[in-house]
């Protein structure tokens, strides 16, 4: 079967964007389960820009396969700088397409990536809002 990954996926796997932790994040989202082989953790910093809440910084940590790593990397790249509502509209297909496609069996990874972002934004809205300025 080989891997069936695109060049773009391999690029993001080899040199992931926004990899790491944020020290005092405004929101954190964690999805997945080690039993299933994927865990993604997203950290965001939110700032105000022209009256909107915008993702000022974003970082990720991922445990998982090539496609799990590449999709979180691509997702953070797409989300960075977007206002929160726009960021929430990033669909799993947007992530997959930006990577030039994923093998069908790996599509759930892009789903997890967007879920992780959603969770981080929710976390911010619930708990982080007060901290953000």
């Amino acid at each position: 079967m080989g891997l069936g990954y695109t060049e773009k996926v391999m690029e993001h796997f080899k040199s992931p964007h926004n990899m790491g932790e944020i020290k005092n994040p405004d929101g954190v989202g964690k999805v997945g389960n080690p039993v299933c082989g994927d865990v993604m953790k997203i950290y965001i910093k939110v700032r105000r820009y022209k009256g909107k809440e915008v993702i000022g910084d974003i970082k990720f940590q991922t445990y998982g396969c090539v496609s799990a790593i590449a999709t979180t990397s691509m997702m953070t790249k797409l989300a960075k700088g977007k206002d929160l509502d726009a960021a929430l509209k990033i669909s799993r297909n947007d992530v997959a397409n930006a990577l030039g496609g994923l093998p069908p069996i790996k599509m759930h990874c892009s789903h997890l990536a967007t879920e992780a972002l959603e969770a981080a934004i929710k976390d911010y809205r619930k708990t982080g809002k007060k901290k953000a300025k």
Partner: protein, 382 residues
């Protein structure tokens, strides 16, 4: 960076140049059909019969017929289905283990759908089938036990002689899948109490498309491939002469010194990899481990990513990770030895070959240390 380091010899091997040379005349010169009346097939026939004798001699196969097949999967399907259907009047119970290759497991599942009854024996933490567990599983209607000789993932060599003794004491046929062990572990079909044994060419520097099944004289079996009656009527179809000749050559050139070499570099790998924190070897150490197998788990990282990292450095290995399988399930073998799924995901198999060098192993260990570190840095798990 090194050129290419191939450490996936348990999956398949490079055809040895001596093997290819031995095969060549049978493509373009002595290409005749063995079943022909004319002399054009006679060279082919002699070559196949010599191959049969030579391979049989390696395992003291005097009481057995070696039937050539297309590979391990065919031999294993042939065994399970052939013995089950031919002995239905005697009983419908088959015993196998939880750590067989998929071809045994899926053939067994298919037989269950046809009304046969299958017991899948558990194994202990090192992957051994325990003798009393086996004998307790035997019933009055048990006709066949199929137990892998050396496991393809974790390299455990089963106590086949003792298992065979128990089987025979209960009048049960013993089959063993020796795809991984043949030529690597000494086998004496008679002393080891083996009625049926699967062997496979592409695992030992022979060509793909060739394998075999040893069948003790008198064992009742139905063919899986019916037809023109080749291979003593056990396996019909035009005989793959070049493949068989190559297989026999591969057996012939496997020498003790190769085994010694494999064991040495295997142990280098084991020592070097288990230096990594939160890592361990799966399967036993020492003489009950396949000479070419080293299988590790690394906490907090996932196998596919590790394999691909190594691949980017030119190193070929394999993984029992769920992500690498179509079913997204972690390896059934690692589950059977009691690993947690999250640990099974972080597992990787290196299988060395006679061609690997010490330098390659050193390079691999350096790359492995780096890759594990990179991935752990990325991992949210602690």
């Amino acid at each position: 960076m090194m050129d290419k380091v191939y450490l996936d010899n348990a999956a398949t091997t490079r055809v040895d140049s001596e093997v290819l040379k031995a095969m060549e005349p049978y493509f373009t010169k002595d290409f005749g059909n063995m079943a022909s009346l004319h002399s054009c097939g006679r060279e082919a026939e002699h070559a196949v019969e010599k191959a049969r004798r030579d391979i049989s001699k390696k395992v003291n196969g005097k009481d057995h017929k070696l039937v050539f097949t297309s590979g391990g999967t065919e031999s294993n399907n042939f065994t399970l289905k052939g013995v089950a259907f031919a002995n239905r009047d005697k009983g419908k119970h088959i015993i196998t283990t939880k750590i067989e290759h998929e071809c045994i497991l899926n053939a067994a599942k298919w037989l269950e759908k046809q009304g046969f009854d299958v017991t899948y024996l558990p194994v202990n933490k090192e992957g051994f089938v325990e003798l009393d567990v086996f004998s307790d599983a035997i019933r009055k209607d048990t006709v066949l036990a199929s137990i892998i000789h050396a496991n393809n993932e974790i390299g455990t060599i089963e106590p086949i002689r003792e298992l065979g003794k128990i089987a025979h004491d209960h009048n049960v046929l013993l089959h063993t899948d020796a795809c991984q062990s043949f030529t690597k572990v000494p086998i004496d079909l008679k002393k080891d109490n083996i009625d049926l044994m699967t062997i496979n060419s592409p695992k030992i520097h022979g060509p793909k498309g060739a394998g075999g099944l040893f069948i003790r004289q008198g064992v009742k079996m139905e063919p899986l491939l019916h037809g023109g009656g080749q291979e003593f009527g056990y396996r019909s179809g035009t005989v793959n002469v070049s493949g068989i000749v190559g297989f026999a050559k591969a057996v012939d050139i496997m020498k003790d010194k190769h085994l010694k070499h494999m064991e040495k570099i295997r142990d280098m790998l084991i020592d070097g990899a288990t230096d990594i924190p939160e890592s361990w070897l799966n399967g036993p150490r020492g003489k009950d481990r396949l000479a070419n197998n080293a299988h590790f788990s690394f906490r907090h990282i996932e196998g596919e990513s590790l394999i691909v990292h190594l691949d980017l450095k030119g190193i070929a290995a394999s993984t029992g990770s769920a992500c690498s399988s179509k079913s997204l399930e972690p390896s059934h073998v690692l589950m059977a030895i009691g690993l947690q799924p999250e640990d099974a995901h972080g597992s990787i198999r290196f299988s060395v070959g006679k061609e690997n060098t010490k330098e390659e192993i050193e390079y691999t260990l350096r790359s492995l240390h780096e890759a594990v570190e990179t991935l752990r840095k990325m991992s949210p798990l602690k």
